[in-house]
């Protein structure tokens, strides 16, 4: 560590190298911390989490009962023991709350004044954060599985929506219209995600085992359909030609540089694709159990040297290195199936939501501070204080 710092100081090393090494070290030491907690508001499973990209301070969560809660993750209390408080929530008593389970929430990518939420009640709502009123509602014919807004778009304000219908709908925030569709899938669309590299490229995953990459400016059709055998027709039976998985594809995530795409399918496999050529890189992650009937939300780290994928695996979270396919560790802590996880890149923290109504914070295990003899007594979490007394008197 000192060698890194002195090399950085002398200019021998690229400034990014120290940062990447330290980020990687922190991600490898993620664990549950007794001093960090997220306030428990949800009364049913947490389906989705999103952290705003501007400051990384506020987190949204959507639950199976339609409740949306906003948390402040920042610790200004000057104590190491901190509970992330919920600032406000759209509860069951709110007049415009979603009627059924909220499947996806996302912050408006450019500021925290707005967020979007989509739900099984066939609507996509655009909320104003300060007043907590819906500014607009889009209605669809089928249940909405997933929606996503491009994080880098400046020339358009499109939200891509994946519903029970095979057509991917694009809703325009500026005009309020919902007329553009992308046709090509044959069954319901389970996941949609925009590329973080190009503002017009969209990837969609469907229950018909296909993943398609689209350019939304092009009216005629998709750019590429990902093929797991890379064109070698001999490996599969003829019905499985041109499919990304041997089952429904229900998870999609781009790496932070947008060069690779990770997909997860119900055939218990995860695949890594080159996003510009559509080629399967054939990295083998082994069996990644996937029993989810709807979309699976997994996440990729940002700023580390071998990038890590955090994948919900039953009631644990499996951490894989992306480019070599190695399973690093399983993060255990939840009591029931984990539904979603998000990575906070500024502090290398992971937040995960599960069916047991808890959101857990996985924090890098810090190096132990050197104990100081004349310093005041170290602050101890009141839950761990020893209340035993040897005297016979009571109290």
């Amino acid at each position: 560590m000192l060698a890194f710092i002195s090399a950085r100081q002398a200019g021998l090393d690229d400034p990014l190298r120290l940062r990447r090494a330290e980020c990687t070290r922190r991600v490898l030491s993620l664990e549950l911390n007794k001093d960090r907690d997220v306030e428990r508001i949800h009364g049913s499973g947490v389906n989705t989490l999103d952290i705003e990209p501007v400051e990384g301070r506020y987190m949204l969560s959507g639950g199976s009962d339609g409740v949306i809660v906003l948390y402040d993750l920042e610790n200004f209390s000057r104590k190491p023991c901190y509970t992330c408080k919920a600032i406000c929530s759209v509860g069951r008593s709110h007049p415009d709350v979603h009627k059924f389970s909220v499947e996806t929430v996302q912050w408006y990518p450019h500021d925290t004044g707005m967020f979007t939420s989509s739900s099984f009640d066939k609507t996509l709502k655009i909320w104003d954060t300060n007043t907590l009123q819906p500014a607009d509602v889009f209605n669809f014919e089928g249940t909405v599985y997933s929606h996503h807004m491009s994080p880098i778009a400046t020339k358009h304000c499109l939200i891509a929506v994946g519903t029970k219908s095979p057509k991917v709908q694009l809703c325009d925030l500026k005009s309020g219209s919902c007329s553009q569709i992308l046709q090509g899938h044959r069954q319901e669309v389970l996941a949609v995600v925009w590329s973080p590299r190009s503002e017009y490229i969209l990837a969609t995953a469907s229950a018909d085992s296909r993943v398609k990459l689209w350019d939304v400016r092009r009216a005629s059709g998709c750019l590429i359909t990902l093929d797991q055998h890379n064109g070698e027709k001999s490996k599969a039976s003829s019905e499985a030609a041109n499919t990304a998985h041997n089952g429904r594809v229900n998870g999609l995530c781009f790496t932070s540089d947008g060069l690779h795409l990770l997909t997860m399918g119900t055939d218990d496999r995860m695949r890594l694709w080159n996003s510009s050529s559509g080629e399967n890189t054939l990295v083998n992650y082994g069996k990644v159990c996937n029993e989810s009937r709807k979309g699976l939300k997994f996440t990729i780290s940002h700023g580390c040297d071998p990038e890590f994928a955090f994948v919900p695996y039953g009631s644990t979270i499996a951490v894989y290195t992306i480019y070599s396919g190695e399973l690093i560790t399983m993060l255990r802590g939840h009591y029931n199936t984990v539904d979603c996880c998000v990575f906070q890149p500024n502090f290398q923290e992971l937040y995960s939501g599960s069916k047991d109504c808890n959101i857990l914070a996985w924090v890098p295990a810090l190096r132990e501070p050197i104990p100081d003899e004349d310093a005041e007594k170290q602050y101890l979490n009141p839950a761990f204080e020893d209340g035993w007394s040897s005297s016979d008197d009571e109290g």
């Binding site: 039976s237 041997n246 055939d267 039953g314 396919g325 560790t329």
Partner: protein
């Protein structure tokens, strides 16, 4: 935690190094070919009266060489060079059998000696097998590139070298492999039943290896153990008494 500390790049670790534990198994080499040969030696030739080449399932390699991506890459290099051939066995879309090309050709020729279609099979082996490392062939390819007509193709199917995949395309097959597949499926079921009946559905690896093979397991215990571990039908949990094999949740 041990594994995680090993993964942190060496430059970040403190100067004092603890003694690292030695490599877990003898084949920590990471090379696929020696692993293939050692697994092929586990195949019981005498059970099938020496008519089958030693068949190794691709996922058995994952239990010997830990890095799956490296196994896949090296195997596809070996396949392109023509050293090994891959076959689709038919009971699972993802399961592939691997056999050395020389053994395969020798056994095929041995199986057609004295039969009518020997000439066609020899021609097939000579022309198609040497040029195409594929797993399956379709009608257009056979007609155009290699000049095999319908009666020839029927002879090849009768010889067992080709199996029907769907209308107009065929998988490459091993003649007489049906007996192997039957023994394999029965053996796998027996092994899984063994672990299912154990208390807590788990069994120590050393304990399993020292047990007598149940009568349904004809291919040998080590062969099936590699199969179960590689296909991730059991989870390998390291514990103080060795490796524990626990049945994976379906």
């Amino acid at each position: 935690m041990e594994r995680r500390r090993q993964l942190i790049p060496a430059t970040l670790r403190a100067k004092k190094r603890r003694l690292q534990p030695g490599p877990e198994s003898g084949e920590a080499d990471g090379r696929v070919e020696p692993a293939l040969r050692s697994l092929a030696s586990l195949f019981p030739r005498q059970l099938f009266e020496d008519t089958l080449p030693p068949l190794v399932l691709k996922h058995q390699l994952y239990s010997v060489v830990k890095d799956r991506t490296a196994v896949d890459r090296q195997l596809s290099c070996l396949k392109d060079e023509g050293l090994v051939r891959l076959f689709q066995l038919g009971f699972d879309a993802d399961t592939f059998a691997v056999a050395f090309a020389q053994d395969y050709e020798a056994k095929v020729l041995q199986s057609v000696v004295g039969k009518d279609h020997a000439g066609t099979v020899r021609r097939f082996l000579g022309s198609v097998l040497t040029s195409c490392p594929e797993l399956s062939y379709d009608k257009g390819q056979m007609l155009r590139d290699f000049g095999f007509q319908d009666p020839d193709i029927t002879q090849l199917v009768n010889a067992g070298v080709l199996t029907v995949r769907d209308a107009g395309s065929w998988w490459l097959a091993v003649p007489g492999a049906g007996r192997f597949i039957k023994c394999f499926i029965k053996g796998r079921k027996a092994m899984l039943g063994l672990i299912q009946k154990a208390k807590y559905k788990e069994v120590l690896l050393s304990d399993l290896q020292s047990r007598q093979a149940p009568s349904a397991v004809k291919l040998g215990l080590p062969y099936h153990i590699h199969d179960l571990i590689g296909a991730q039908l059991v989870d390998c949990i390291p514990c103080t008494s060795g490796t524990l094999l626990r049945l994976a949740d379906p």
